[in-house]
């Protein structure tokens, strides 16, 4: 996979595209209201009820069936809290409500990733420099080689294994992302700053471990092993699910990668086109969209990161029509199909470049 070519659209067409995308955005943003707040509050209520139910089943339930039900309910709560609630609230999708419980800059979620560090690594770095090699640190998460343009190193032989480890411990991958260990090791970050970032990350890990692996098991007394195992499995399910959805958002086949010098004098229209070509969608029903935090509409999310996410299905057909009009590729497919192309890429770039038949 090589760099995206500069768009074939003329400057006038890019400007017109920008106007049309802005119009789609305004269509939704000018009529935000009670329905949007009701939606996110309903999600918060479901997540809380699911957590209480899940933990109760793990603590007080008998036998394996209630354990499985407890794990699933707790995993459901954590997935909702991460995806539809945490991710979207922290993007500022509900800042317009003025409700302090929905404030992007103070929200904190139930995951090993510190909210403030997430806001930096995700909102600032990833969403601004999406798919620019060397700038977007989400590209392979500094762990995986996802394109020919990344230099092959012997450690990439272990890439399939690294991928599996990242999937299983995804919350720690996301949590340690903003440490920028690579930059520190190359001497580009002062030790004091790295220590501060590390402390912040470890404090957050400490909090989630204390809650899931110490406090709640201890409260369960003789059921401690049952609760501990249940919490672990709920976290594991959440890790695998979030990994799956997020990897399908930017690492599928046909997603464009950019060179920094090609993006220097970007207009808003160019930026829209980069966001569009650098993201891929997943098809599915309403429940699937909610459980993915509407990141199944990764394209719409990258165009409008602060639009309440449950509105993405409403604008998706309009964006798709626009893509047809301008001859732009709208990358979408089923979870199975999209993930297959992700795996293909991970395996392809495991091998040193010479052996790759492009």
């Amino acid at each position: 996979m090589s760099f995206a070519k500069p768009t074939t659209l003329s400057r006038e067409q890019v400007a017109e595209f920008e106007r049309e995308v802005n119009a789609i955005r305004d269509g939704v943003m000018n009529n935000l209201g009670q329905a949007d707040v009701d939606h996110i509050r309903a999600m918060i209520r479901i997540s809380r009820a699911s957590e209480i139910g899940g933990r109760a089943l793990l603590h007080f339930g008998m036998g394996p069936l209630s354990w499985v039900a407890g794990v699933l309910a707790l995993a459901n709560a954590k997935i909702l809290d991460n995806m539809e609630i945490g991710h979207n609230v922290m993007h500022g999708q509900y800042d317009w409500t003025g409700d302090p419980a929905l404030n992007s800059q103070t929200f904190e979620w139930d995951i090993a990733c510190d909210g403030e560090q997430w806001r930096h690594s995700h909102n600032v770095t990833h969403h601004t420099y999406t798919n620019i090699l060397g700038k977007d640190r989400d590209l392979g998460y500094s762990l995986l080689r996802m394109t020919d343009e990344q230099k092959w190193k012997p450690r990439h032989w272990f890439q399939p294994l690294a991928n599996l480890m990242l999937a299983m411990g995804f919350q720690y991958g996301v949590g340690s992302h903003d440490l920028e260990i690579g930059r520190y090791k190359h001497g580009a970050m002062p030790k004091a700053e790295f220590r501060a970032r590390l402390d912040r990350f470890l404090t957050k890990v400490g909090k989630v471990w204390f809650k899931d692996y110490l406090l709640f098991p201890a409260l369960a007394l003789w059921s401690a092993p049952r609760v501990l195992a249940g919490n672990f499995c709920a976290n594991l399910i959440r890790n695998l699910w979030t990994y799956l959805i997020i990897f399908c958002g930017h690492f599928t086949e046909g997603v464009a990668i950019y060179r920094e010098e090609d993006t220097r004098n970007e207009t808003r229209g160019d930026w829209y086109i980069r966001q569009l070509s650098g993201s891929s969608n997943l098809t599915g029903g309403r429940l699937f969209h909610i459980m993915s935090g509407h990141l199944s509409h990764q394209i719409e999310h990258h165009l409008f990161p602060d639009m309440p996410a449950h509105r993405y299905p409403e604008v998706a057909p309009q964006i798709q029509a626009l893509c047809r009009k301008y001859g732009l590729f709208y990358n979408t497919g089923s979870l199975f199909k999209q993930y297959l192309t992700v795996m293909k890429r991970i395996l392809t770039y495991t091998l040193p470049p010479k052996r790759v038949a492009v």
């Binding site: 800042d95 139930d110 600032v124 601004t128 909090k207 989630v208």
Partner: protein, 385 residues
Amino acid sequence: MSLAVLSTPSRHGPGPRRSTVSTRWVHAVNAPLVKALHHPWVESIVRLSAVEDALVALHPLLSLTQVRARVLRIVDETASTQTFVLQPNALWLGAQAGQFVRVQLEINGRRVERAYSLSSRPGTRRIAITVKRQDQGLASRHLHAAVKVGDVLTISQALGEFVLPSVPPSRMLLLSAGSGITPVMAMLRDLRARRYQGDVVFLHVCKSQADLIFAAQLKAIAADFAELSLVVHYTAGAGPLSPEVLAVEVPDLAQRSTWMCGPTGFMDAVSGYWQREGINAPLMREQFVGAALLPSTAPGTPVNVSLISSGASFTTWGTEPLLVQAERAGLSPKHGCRIGICRSCQCVKTSGTVENLQTGEVSSAPNELIRLCISTARSDVVLAL
């Protein structure tokens, strides 16, 4: 009509806050509990917002952090003015006559906050706000149209320095115009309840008899309160009340301590008269702030941006984003993408008008979240930075 926090501090100093034994007890238990729930390690187990929502589900008045008040009665005062009698929860600390509360409403998903003077007498468990419906007023129209008896409102504790001193002076003038009657009505009720022995003139200006708020109560109070001289000036018949006419109505005003509330133009005229005539008697005023759009300046006009927390201020010309102009002034506000995506530079604009450079939207709403990197000042602006 809403009131701003700004008011001239009373020279006599505020009287004691009236909190009962039971509210003190509630706060003694509540304060450490809230502190514990705010602790980051506790918050990572259970969020305070979850606790609050659970309490509200149990009973709509329950809260650890908010004064919540049930609407007991809604009284029509005039065709466009209603009094809302409220029963606050145990967190309510009480008020002094003349103070106001910030009422928090959610209108079509958006939080809106407006300040309303209390018209009720202090020291009672029930409180009242009196609200005039403004044709363009988002909050006042919502209160009149959508709020029903039995609803629960979230309000602040009583705020404001426009209060009666603990020992009222012997000669007083309570001067009001329009819906500015509300805080001075609370003062009048307080004076009567405290069996005030001095001499008080209550002078109110309104358009006509039909627009007189509290008409019946004023009549009732005047009937058995010998110390009170009640004067109502109807502008429809007698024309506007100029300070000169006021001096005729209240010949000894130079000897009276005056508490005044009304439209800005009215109060400025009175203040000007006090200055011209060299009147030394204290004049306390409560400022009104309309909900209307503040005037916005054209790009290139110098305006002042002041930051509350850091105390810094700088001048901008409204041609570049606030972030750039703050940096040019040697400040370094938190920021990220600089193109309006990440919201790292988001902060609360306390007051002033800004334009969103991406959408062209001009907004004057107080206490509004703005992004510094895509906003430019269109008037003097105060930021909570």
